[in-house]
Amino acid sequence: MRIRLNLLIGGVICTVVIAAALLAPWLAPTDPVLDADLMNAELPPDAQFWFGTDAQGRDVLSRILYGARISLAVGIGSQVINTLIGLALGISAGYFGGWWDDFVTGLTNLMLAIPSLIFALAIMAILGPGLVSLLIALGLTNWSWTCRIARSSALSLKKQGYVQAAKTLGYGDIRIMITQILPNMIGPILVIGTLGMGDAILAEAALSYLGLGIKPPFPSWGNMLTDARELIVIAPWAAIFPGLAIFVTVLGLNLFGDGLRDWLDPHMRARQL
């Protein structure tokens, strides 16, 4: 029997990251902000500080656990916004066609032409740093791929017999889009959504690294990297562990998205039974 390895590994990684984020107050050995102790600064990993300490003498492990909250909140929150925008625009454009389709396609191409990080940077500069600004900035700038996939799926799905049948059975357009078209594109949308979550976590790191994300001293994986930049030779652990956290989380999300797609596809499911 073939076990869906990607779903399993991805699921375990995501569960661990979510658990770490939720249980951070209990898991973290020290407070991530207040327990600064310059006497313990730049200590390499040992039995007391598993991941070492940073320039202020704060425990890197504790800061990573608390940072997971920011990364997940940003990843999930912004992706929910992106997916809702992308689906609403994409499905309606593909289904109705006409001038609305032209408008949405134009808007999507415009969004794709502007690098989303630059766009997010501009929004952050207007809104100022903070979690809510991050959610808005990343949630408004990364829906183009979802929209494109939703549009092209809707375009092909609306010609399917069951959509025509739904029309003759008296279904309204909104009902058709929600009950007949949306469920049949959920696979690719979920994959794009989870991949986008990885992107959002990376974007958060980049924005925080540039000083526009989460304000220090509160930890996010991005601003931990910023702080560690100057110590990269003296105390590499301060940079390596947040970097690893980003890498593993994004990898886990990608594996999970892939596995989810296989699992949600009824044809694939039938083949494995």
């Binding site: 003759t168 007949q180 009824p266």
Partner: protein, 323 residues
């Protein structure tokens, strides 16, 4: 309630034209004339077959009758009531009039819904809220189309092509429509399954008092099912009449070619077809069938002006007045 003489469906001078844009930035505009000034009627309890090659406009005609395609000009009446134009009924109202059985049983069922959901949703939409009543009607319908009621719990991919077509028929009938449009109902099925589905459709027609409009290019299927036939060519009816009359004495050269194309073991063995398809009969005096160059006619220009001329009873053929 309706007038006795009023047919169930009456299509009156229907034309459906589509603007086609091509060239850079859609600069050159052409009009694709799918259906040209077409009239037909469907009487209660009748099976009318519309035959013709792909692209002759028969599917567009079907979509117009179902209300999925707004006509460019002309009207369609259902029991004397116009279903086109400004006063057209809503989708919900129209659902009880005509339903459709689709050609491809694989694409016509939502792969994410169980059969039960596919059948229960339209009932709920049309105000049937009692769970027991819904379950009862679905059970009844499953048995009518020759499936076991407990199979309704399954997903479409767990069924064979023939079973799926039965489900497609069940879905078309669940709202008790009066007219069912059959779009090549068996052409996607194995030859061994076709007869079963044809017989099922014929039984259901008697049992449920249905009227069929069948779209097909397969005359051997048409032969088994239809009372009347309308031969379509470039968006027009070129010959119409009761099936046995048209089959026995085809007039129009296009009809003759279609009938000549039926694969038949007798023809294959003896070289003697049911009709001689090479020589069309002399057209009635003063008329021509169509100009020689009509075979090169394209869908973007209007066909030459012509008229349906009655020959005998309801058998008529499209002719062009000479001179």
């Amino acid at each position: 309630m309706s007038d006795k003489n009023e047919p169930l469906v009456r299509v009156d001078s229907l034309s459906v034209h589509f603007p086609v844009r091509n060239g850079i930035f859609g600069r050159s505009k052409r009009t694709l004339r799918a259906v040209n000034n077409l009239s037909l009627t469907l009487n209660k309890g009748e099976c009318l077959s519309i035959v013709g090659e792909s692209g002759c406009g028969k599917s567009t005609l079907a979509l117009s009758i179902l209300g999925l395609q707004e006509p460019t000009t002309g009207e369609i009446y259902f029991e004397g009531r116009s279903i086109t134009g400004k006063a057209r009924p809503s989708r919900l109202e129209r659902a009880g009039m005509a339903q459709m059985v689709f050609q491809d049983p694989y694409a016509s069922l939502n792969p994410r819904q169980t059969i039960y959901t596919s059948l229960a949703a339209p009932l709920r939409l049309h105000g049937v809220s009692d769970r027991k009543e819904i379950a009862g009607r679905i059970e009844n319908m499953m048995q009518l189309v020759g499936l076991k009621p407990e199979q309704a719990k399954r997903f479409p991919h767990e069924f064979s092509g023939g079973q799926r077509q039965r489900i497609g028929i069940a879905r078309a009938l669940i709202l008790n429509p009066k007219v069912v449009v059959l779009d090549e109902p068996v052409s996607a099925l194995d030859v061994s399954i076709r007869a079963q589905i044809i017989n099922l459709l014929l039984e259901l027609k008697e049992q449920l008092d249905l009227s069929y409009i069948m779209i097909s290019h397969d005359l051997s299927v048409v032969e088994h099912m239809s009372d009347r036939v309308a031969v379509m060519y470039f968006g027009q009816i070129v010959e119409t009449g009761s099936w046995d009359r048209v089959f026995a004495e085809p007039q129009h050269p296009y009809t003759r070619r279609l009938i000549g194309a039926i694969l038949d073991p007798v023809t294959e063995l003896t070289g003697q077809g049911p009709v001689d398809t090479r020589e069309p009969p002399e057209p009635p005096p003063g008329y021509d069938y169509y100009p020689r160059e009509f075979g090169k006619h394209d869908v973007y220009s209007l066909p030459p002006s012509s008229q349906l001329v009655a020959l005998r009873d309801d058998h008529s053929v499209r002719l062009i007045a000479r001179g």
